[in-house]
């Protein structure tokens, strides 16, 4: 594609270039393919906003321990099912965020534990406060967290999003859950990508029997209800596997689901490109097949692959969440969005503690952001078209 600039020089039916615009047009003529794509992508406002959101999610992945303020596994029966706390930003006129202390009491009628904010007690929030120990990026030992409270006295704690049944802080767990859910999606999609590019490439480059075989396989895979199948595979995992083993097994299972669409995209590009001049000339000057494919063809449709990969991510995230939600995917003590949502399975529980449904919010936001971003990238992927 990069070698056929005619499409830019003579846009079909374009009016004669007015003088004022000739400067920008000159810029377009000499711009590289990636530059053109970036300009086109920038025009898609929703996609740009989604890119920021996605970036934010991955910052959480990197800095989960810094953003969490409580040990995600520290449970405390005294703080079971606390509702989210209100944060007061201003103390008088000064910006000094604080929360009220909380007192747990038994309701004399129902014997249920209820929590009342205690307005007489102000618990100031500190930025870059000391907290539990962790290793930043898995390497550097650190104890600082974005927010926290002094001392960490039992009565003076923060629970921004409340706690779960075992009294673990939901905000901190959500941070760690984001790390696992999003990396599983990313690793899963990379595996899918390898499968999709190899099989789609074989299919599109060789054609004939191989093509028919792979295309039929894709059609068969797409006409099978996948969830029961993945449930079966996931349930067959030995119970005594470690978290890490389960993590990779689940990744493998969900990546077997996502490759078909990627393979279709790659095959389509190969078919469209097989007869292009630059591919033919590469063959004629004596490039080997591998070199033709990886040096000349793959770079020119890299952008399409990136777009298709982004669009495949939401399905991965949803699959992991669904499997873990059912108790067949990741199991506690691992933390993922699906594991967190497991606590919201029961309507009675949710009706009393609706904040347990909060982990659904990042799932939905992430899925939407990846979808919009993928749409924008797909439109930008072919800057010479339309």
């Amino acid at each position: 594609m990069a070698t056929t600039p005619d499409a830019v020089l003579e846009p079909a039916g374009a009016p004669p270039v007015p003088d004022a615009r000739s400067v920008t047009d000159a810029r377009i003529f000499v711009a590289s393919q990636w530059q053109l794509m970036w300009w086109r992508f920038r025009r898609h406002k929703v996609a740009v906003a989604s890119a920021v959101v996605v970036l934010g999610f991955y910052l959480v992945v990197v800095g989960a321990d810094f953003l969490a303020y409580a040990d995600p596994d520290a449970s405390e029966a005294q703080r079971s099912l606390m509702p989210p706390q209100r944060v007061y930003l201003l103390d008088g006129w000064r910006f000094a965020p604080y929360v009220h202390g909380v007192k747990g009491v038994r309701d004399p009628n129902t014997f249920k534990r209820v929590y009342r904010p205690d307005p007489s007690q102000k618990v100031p929030l500190r930025f870059f406060a000391q907290g539990f120990e962790y290793r930043f990026l898995g390497l550097i030992p650190a104890t600082r967290h974005l927010i926290g409270v002094d001392g960490g006295d039992a009565e003076k704690r923060i629970f921004l999003l409340g706690t779960d049944v075992q009294g673990r802080d939901l905000w901190s767990r959500l941070m760690y859950g984001t790390r696992i859910s999003l990396t599983i999606g990313l690793i899963g999609v990379s595996l899918s990508l390898v499968l999709g590019v190899v099989l789609g490439g074989l299919s599109g480059f060789y054609g004939g029997v191989i093509d028919t075989l792979i295309q039929r396989t894709i059609e068969i895979l797409r006409s099978i209800p996948t969830i029961p199948l993945w449930m079966g595979l996931a349930a067959a995992m030995p119970r005594d596997w470690t978290i890490l083993q389960v993590y990779f097994a689940i990744t493998l299972i969900i990546s077997l689901l996502g490759w078909t669409d990627l393979a279709r995209v790659v095959r389509g590009r190969f078919l469209a490109m097989r007869e292009e001049d630059f591919v033919v000339s590469a063959r004629l000057v004596g490039c080997t097949r591998t070199r033709t494919i990886f040096v000349h063809m793959v770079p020119s449709f890299m952008s399409h692959i990136i777009a298709a990969t982004t669009l495949a991510l939401p399905a991965m995230i949803i699959s992991e969440t669904a499997l873990s939600f059912l108790g067949l995917g990741l199991r506690p003590p691992a933390i993922s969005w699906g594991v967190l949502l497991q606590q919201a399975q029961n309507v009675q529980t949710v009706a009393i503690s609706p904040w347990l449904m909060l982990p659904a919010v990042p799932v939905i936001v992430a899925v939407m952001a990846f979808n919009f971003l993928g749409d924008g990238l797909r439109d930008a992927a072919d800057p010479y078209g339309r």
Binding site: R216, E219, I220, R222, S223, I224, P225, T226, I227, P228, L229, M231, G232, L233, A235, A236, P238, P314, I318, T321, A322, F325, L326, G327, L328, L341, A344, Q345, V347, V350, A351, P354, M357, A360, V363, I364, V367, M368, N371
Partner: protein, 329 residues
């Protein structure tokens, strides 16, 4: 047309074969064979399986023989309608699944029909009144439908129903008709409960189909033949329905085949959240208890059902739209 249907049927046959292999793999995956777990199960409940009985079971299922012989024996039993024993329920698998399979079919078909019934008019409206508030509303709901996994949607609706109306919107039957024999009252009750699960299951598919229909129809509406039809004095509705809608239906129809597997998949998880008496909860229980004959059979039957459903919808669509015939054969 026959050649096309023949090819679809052949592919369906292959799909069924692939599903049977995968279901068999699911049965085989856990460690230990069927008979050892059967004996252990029996022993835990106090009854003893004699050596002779165990030997007979081993011969019946061909355990100890090469894996493909075991597969063929299993297929042979299945074709004769013998799905093996469910260990957890200690009853034949066919009996345990029973009515639940049909209710799964009912829920899935309801969702599929709802998808078509909703997507067609909304898609047409969105295209004809492009950028109208209605179009924006449809697009917005569509994005929500695509982004919210259906089991979360079920959860949220269940919660809202509980909090706002103090009503339980789950289930397929009222409590008093739960285990009653089939009667008119029970069918009416089922129909009353059906819309909520059908809507939850069908929403994502509907959203996708609306987008496809809208895009196709927008392409068609810009073509000169529409102007021609209008200038000949046809009424606006007739212009629309007679030509562009029919043409836009073609790519719309060819993607419908993928909707059914998606709905069936979703029905498993949604059934769990909403407490529907379909095979979904049964499958999960069977998988957790490692009741593999039951689990494998459910996966096989769900697959079979989906393939048959897709084949039927393929044939119906070919019959409705002659353009598919010309294109694909």
């Amino acid at each position: 047309m026959l050649a096309y249907i023949g090819r679809r049927a052949l592919l369906a046959l292959f799909t069924v074969w692939a599903i049977s292999v995968l279901s068999f793999a699911i049965i085989q995956l856990p460690p230990g064979d069927y008979v050892t777990s059967y004996i252990a199960q029996m022993a835990s409940s106090g009854s003893v399986v004699t050596e002779e009985e165990a030997q007979n079971l081993r011969i019946q299922y061909g355990l100890g023989q090469p894996i493909y012989v075991q597969y063929l024996k299993w297929m042979n039993l299945i074709v004769r309608g013998n799905f093996g024993m469910s260990m957890e329920w200690r009853r034949p698998v066919a009996e345990v699944i029973g009515e639940r399979l049909w209710l799964t079919v009912v829920v899935s078909v309801a969702a599929l029909i709802l998808t078509w019934v909703l997507a067609l008019p909304i898609g047409i409206y969105s295209a004809v009144r492009q950028y109208s508030p209605g179009d924006y509303a449809a697009t917005f709901v569509g994005f929500i439908g695509l982004a919210v996994p259906n089991f979360l949607l079920a959860l949220v609706l269940l919660y809202l129903g509980f909090v706002l109306f103090n009503a339980h919107i789950g289930g397929l039957f009222s409590p008093e008709l739960q285990d009653a024999p089939w009667s008119t009252a029970r069918v009416v009750d089922l129909l009353k409960h059906l819309p909520v699960p059908a809507l939850i299951l069908g929403l994502a598919g509907t959203a996708q189909q609306v987008r496809i229909m809208r895009a196709n129809l927008l392409d068609e509406l810009r073509k000169p033949y529409v102007v021609t039809a209008r200038s000949k004095g046809l009424s606006e509705l007739r212009v629309l329905l007679k030509y562009p809608v029919r043409l836009a239906l073609n790519p719309f129809a060819s993607t419908i085949g993928y909707t059914l597997p998606y709905i069936v998949s979703g029905s498993i998880i949604v059934s769990l959240v909403l407490g529907l008496p379909t095979v979904g909860p049964l499958l999960l229980k069977a998988l957790i208890a490692q009741d593999m004959f039951l689990a494998g059979t459910i996966v096989l039957l769900l697959g079979l059902m989906t393939v048959i459903g897709t084949l039927i919808s393929d044939i119906v669509l070919v019959w409705i739209d002659p353009r598919i015939r010309l294109e694909e054969t």
